[in-house]
């Protein structure tokens, strides 16, 4: 981990926190991505979650256009395992009413005990799962 990585990580985190702050201050909304997806699918107010999602895509596209490195797809990662992970993420974040952004960034910002429990849970289960997938089953 070099100095540039630390600076980028910290700056990225500060931007994410600032975006969440602006959305709450101006629109009164929580920047929770899983609820944004759930709203896109099930709510009658499609416009604001759609605009936020488009913004996320545009923001990432801007970073890549300015020379930031794009994610490299994994050549040998099993597609069925990726699909299974995605279903679990959709089901789980909908059930817990939040993910990394809603519970991790916004909920912790509100000093919510619920969000602390959620964050500690998905973080520790995530650590354990990555260990099992990579070091027990050898899938990288």
């Amino acid at each position: 981990m070099d100095t540039q990585t630390i600076i980028n990580s910290l700056a990225g985190g500060l931007l994410i926190g600032s975006a969440a702050s602006l959305l709450l201050w101006l629109n009164g909304r929580i920047a929770g991505i899983s609820s944004i997806i759930a709203n896109l699918l099930f709510s009658k107010s499609h416009l604001w979650p759609l605009l936020f999602a488009l913004g996320i895509v545009g923001g990432a596209a801007l970073f890549y256009a300015l020379g930031g490195s794009t994610p490299t797809p994994r050549a040998d990662f099993p597609a069925w395992l990726l699909a299974l992970a995605a279903v679990l993420i959709g089901f789980g974040t909908a059930m817990a009413h939040g993910c990394t952004s809603g519970h991790g960034v916004c909920g912790l910002g509100r000093l919510s005990l619920r969000s602390l429990v959620a964050t500690v849970t998905f973080l520790s289960v995530g650590l354990l799962t990555t260990f099992v997938v990579r070091h027990v089953f050898g899938v990288m």
């Binding site: 630390i6 980028n8 990580s9 910290l10 990225g12 985190g13 500060l14 931007l15 994410i16 926190g17 975006a19 602006l22 201050w25 101006l26 629109n27 009164g28 909304r29 991505i33 899983s34 759930a38 699918l41 099930f42 709510s43 009658k44 936020f52 996320i56 545009g58 596209a61 970073f63 994610p71 994994r74 597609a79 990726l82 699909a83 992970a85 995605a86 279903v87 679990l88 993420i89 959709g90 089901f91 974040t93 909908a94 817990a96 009413h97 939040g98 990394t100 952004s101 809603g102 916004c106 909920g107 912790l108 005990l113 619920r114 969000s115 429990v117 959620a118 289960v125 650590l127 990555t130």
Partner: protein, 157 residues
Amino acid sequence: MNNLVTLIVGLIFGFGLALAGMTHPQKVLGFLDIAGQWDPSLLFVLGGAVGVTVISFRFILKLKKPLLAPGFLLSNLHDIDKPLVVGSALFGIGWGISGYCPGPAIALFAAPNWELWVFFPALLLGYVLQRVWEVRRRPAVTTAPAVKLDSEPPACG
């Protein structure tokens, strides 16, 4: 005005995600893989983001209302219940397998590759399955969910 704010805030959020390296699932897995070549840089992402919200939310939530909306739309859930813990654990399993959480999954549309076409439809399927399960579990509220989402948004996400 509200819509413009939403779009611009989304842009900042997406740029931040990409700058932080969160859109690289292998980097996220490098953070979760403490038994491998551990990459602790995501601690700075979380620290930076929560550092801002912990301070700013204190001041924002003391306001009577947001600047451009009639009121704050916050979760009114407080209980540490089974769905919270089980749901977060299921999310942790998916996160630990794939290295994606919902935000970076959306950001993948900015640099699409085969993972997007497998991951994103399956992610949406997960939300639909949870909805179906929720409705079946509590048949009394079968007509309520669509309305409920509009009037009291789910916590977060």
